[in-house]
């Protein structure tokens, strides 16, 4: 059995899934000021009366690092940066502890300015003096040639607790994003270590020694030990958890729009034949644009608890939330109150809900029921409008080849999966106004935790071959090998697949869950003076985000249980 734990804004869901489907589920209130306590309570409760040897592993999706960033509670981290021609690297300053040192690599990985070890040592000394313990080292084009980042690390020596090198964090282009990503990794590192040491220790005390995995923003997992080197990957795993929760119940033959309706907002994503789309660049959080792989999700400020009011004769819903629905004792009317008035949902105080909607009905000059219906209808329509905008954005992504431009693949879902608190009450109306078929995710109150439990390990590698130089490299893996002029794209694919599989296993994947996919596959002639000198081959491969091998049985059992 697998434990899945998802820390939410108000409560934390923990599930135990196994061959009988959803074996157990519990809910504990989230205490953001003591996340450790929340997680531990959740784990304790879910394992009560469960023999330790029946648990195969645990997957955690926490808001630990996310909250630290959003609340600005980062531990101070230092940065040492080299640039080369382009935008002034001063523009990417992360904090006062940011040093630009000489050095430069060009777009093809050639050195254009040497590292000066003395300048590096001087910067390191100042960081050390300022009490900095964890630092990031980033060079422009380090994904092409990581030599300078390594030389800097060498020059610094062992004076810091942890040194994150940009090329190991991501093999993708984007110098400012690499700076931000490396900085965030260094900044959340102490918190991440402290938290997971504590979790590990207390589980051990209870006799539970199963592997612990962490959910990442791309909907995949990584082993706890690996996460020490990539703590930033755990940022924004929350939206990924809900998408992965829906994947288990999405059809594998069509495109699905996933709508996770929460209290404050609705998160949306697209699944192509059951596989979530990745965001083109990476996570954007609190003004930091990063290279952290993430699922392509979009959030709009409309949810069950959005504040409803009339402005200039027009109904307005959200994006603010003042508290729970009036039917649950809140101060302002909400879409949830509309559901109470329409008697589509129970559990709240309908009398109070009516009181809330009455003034709105008065302003609109309609009956309370009519006003409630209008609120309900508008909420659904605005959510769908947001989804359409997201799909339009996905489809307007530029393409760089004639083939892609002419083929012009367009995402066009015809199916909606709804999850989240009020999901069931919205499903029918979505179907009526959109013309799509609409389904509700079973057990959708804990879908996030189920998705967390069932997610597989994901990772990505970038391989770059230059047969003129006779070199093939995968900077993130610290891999490089000499090749001759006969090295082909097929050879690159094979080499990439091997590296990817090794990496996946290292991160904690089971071999049956390794499903590789080619993300980028380019080959160019290198011509000098009208002569063909070699080939420039670029291959990017990934383990697709998806669910572990056993999920089908588990999700089938959950579906059956819900149908009963």
């Amino acid at each position: 059995m697998i434990i899945g734990l998802d820390v939410g804004g108000t409560h934390t869901d923990v599930v135990l899934v196994g061959e009988n489907g959803l074996e157990k589920q519990i809910k504990v209130p989230t205490d953001t000021s003591a996340l450790f306590h929340t997680v531990l309570t959740g784990l304790e409760k879910i394992t009560e009366n469960v023999p330790a040897d029946e648990i195969s592993h645990t997957v955690l999706s926490t808001t630990l690092t996310t909250n630290a960033i959003v609340q600005g509670k980062l531990s101070p981290a230092g940065m040492i940066v080299t640039s080369g021609p382009g935008i002034d690297p001063e523009a990417f300053r992360t904090s006062e502890h940011y040093f630009i040192v000489p050095g430069g690599i060009d777009h093809s990985g050639r050195e254009i300015e040497k590292i000066d070890p003395e300048k590096v040592k001087a910067a390191a000394a100042r960081l050390e003096k300022a009490g900095i313990r964890d630092i990031g080292v980033v060079g422009k084009f380090s994904a092409r040639n990581p030599a300078h980042e390594r030389q800097i690390a060498e020059a610094i020596g062992p004076r810091f607790e942890k040194v994150f090198l940009g090329h190991q964090i991501s093999g993708n282009f984007g110098f400012p994003r690499r700076i931000n990503t490396t900085f965030l990794n260094a900044s959340v590192y102490p918190l991440h270590c402290q938290f997971f040491e504590a979790v590990k220790k207390s589980l051990k005390q209870k006799g539970i020694t199963v592997p612990i995995h962490i959910l990442k923003a791309d909907g995949g997992t990584m082993g706890l030990d690996t996460s020490i080197d990539f703590p930033g990957q755990s940022i924004l795993s929350g939206p990924a958890a809900s998408v992965m929760g829906s994947v288990a119940f999405a059809p594998d033959y069509t495109e699905t729009l996933v709508l996770d309706i929460g209290g404050t907002s609705t998160d949306m994503a697209v699944l192509i034949k059951g596989v979530p789309l990745l965001a083109p660049h990476g996570v954007d959080i609190s003004g930091y644009k990063t290279l952290i792989r993430a699922l392509n999700s979009h959030s709009i400020g409309i949810g069950g608890d959005s504040r409803v009011r009339v402005e200039n004769g027009e109904l307005k819903i959200g994006p603010d939330r003042t508290g729970p629905a009036m039917g649950y004792g809140g101060a302002d009317p909400t879409p949830t109150d509309a559901l109470f008035v329409l008697e589509r949902s129970e559990g709240g105080d309908r009398r109070r809900a009516v009181q809330g909607i009455e003034p709105i009905a008065g302003q609109l000059g309609v009956s309370v029921e009519e006003a409630a219906y209008e609120i309900f209808d508008k909420t659904c329509r605005e959510i769908l409008a947001g989804a359409r905008e997201m799909i339009e954005n996905i489809n307007s992504k530029p393409v760089y080849t004639v083939k892609e431009a002419l083929e012009g693949y367009q995402v066009n879902p015809d199916h909606i999966l709804v999850l989240g608190g009020p999901a069931a009450y919205f499903a029918e109306h979505f179907q009526n106004i959109s013309g799509y078929t609409v389904d509700t995710v079973p057990e959708c109150q804990v879908a996030n935790a189920i998705g967390t439990a069932l997610s597989r390990t994901t990772c990505e590698i970038t391989l770059f071959a230059d047969t003129q130089k006779g070199l093939v490299t995968a900077p993130e893996e610290s891999f490089s090998q000499t090749v001759d002029l006969h090295f082909t794209r097929q050879d690159a694919h094979q080499m990439g697949t091997n590296l990817l599989k090794q990496k996946a296993v290292r991160l904690g994947a089971k071999t049956e869950d390794i499903e590789t996919e080619l993300l980028e596959d380019l080959e160019f002639n290198i011509v000098r003076g009208f002569r063909l000198m070699g080939k420039n081959i670029r291959v990017k491969q990934q383990i697709k985000p998806g669910l572990i091998h056993d999920f089908k049985n588990i999700s089938k059992k959950i579906k059956e249980a819900c149908a009963r």
């Binding site: 021609p85 994003r177 760089y400 002639n525």
Partner: protein
Amino acid sequence: MLKALNKTGLVFFPAFDWAISATHPEREERLLYTQDQVLEEGLFDIEGIREFKSDIVDIKDVQRVHFSYPDVWRVMTESHFISAGGAKTIANAVMEKSVDNGFALVRPPGHHAMRVVHGGRGFCNVNNEAIMIEHLRHTYGIDRVAIVDTDCHHGDGSQDIYWHDPDTLYISLHQDGRTIYPGSGFTSEVGGPNAAGTTLNIPLPPYTGESGFLYAINEVVLPVLDEFKPELIINSAGQDNHFSDPLTNMLFTAKGYADLTRLLKPDIVVLEGGYSIEGALPYVNIGIILALAGMDYSHVIEPGYDPEKLKQSESITQTVKQTCETVKANWAQREAIGRKMRGNQKFAERRRNIFYDTEGIYETQKETLKLCPDCSGTVKIDSTSDRGAHILAIHIPRKACSACRDLGRQWFESAKPADYDMICLQDRIDDTYQVKNK
């Protein structure tokens, strides 16, 4: 947080799967390192810089400009439709005010493509800028447009298309035609009799550096633009004046291109040539984009940049100065020059031989222009290629008077299909294109 002062739009279409031939300079790899640099710099993440997905032009967009033989489909590849479409996308974004200015980083280029197209010449098949401008005139009612062509090669195609159009100012700065393809673009080429002075050529001697280019911009281009008062300034931005370009002999730099862009303030920039794909393009393109966005480009210094080595000689400075004087004088006396060209004739004729280097086609043209006091005059081109194609192309300009329009129609009606392989009429008043085949 970095922020652009001007909202700048970019279309990036490197056509990674298209080449003229495997080792041709106009091949797949050309914008690869530029793309790497653009992505590594994170340009698309800067607030105010926006990337657009390239549109595709339709056949009508092309027929508004070109007479294609045997037809549009056979002179263009898919990549040409997308490349011209990229320019159109940026132009639309500027017109709709979603951006202040924009740059179409597209390939293949277009400025050697003339009005009549039998094939590819100078790596160009259709004229991206002209297709874009005529689309803007048709869709947005734009009238006066200036093209400043800063490719190292004379843009003889753009010059040809606008030779008789007094509402399009075409200024080209390029390496002296005596030393480089296509061998034209001398100061004496000032436009046709009805449009004298709205074509201006500033040939620069080999080894002209930053100071020579910027001198010509400050001394000639900017004052002429001030007087001409265009609604839009288009920059045909070839990047082959760079000191590292393998096909040319100039000493221009990334910073120089960025300075030029800052001075010129173009509304729309369209990439033309430039074949130093590793040493120049990544840096020149970043420089141009930052300059368009109103951002600091002082750190865009390419490897090998040495202001001392790249300084032009004193004799070049003198030559540039003299050339600029000549061009300024032509501009000042443009009306008199036009009067002299027209004399008392009713028609003006021009005979030319045009070589299409990509396919090795020779074309002979006889062009007849109506000298009209009321409009820019209808044009008739009798064109024969050494492949045996004989075509008659008639162009009724956008603002033709009724007499010239009637003349154009009459030329078309009376031409006998038996005498030509193709007879076409481009009527810009009602935006139609008619063909009579044998």
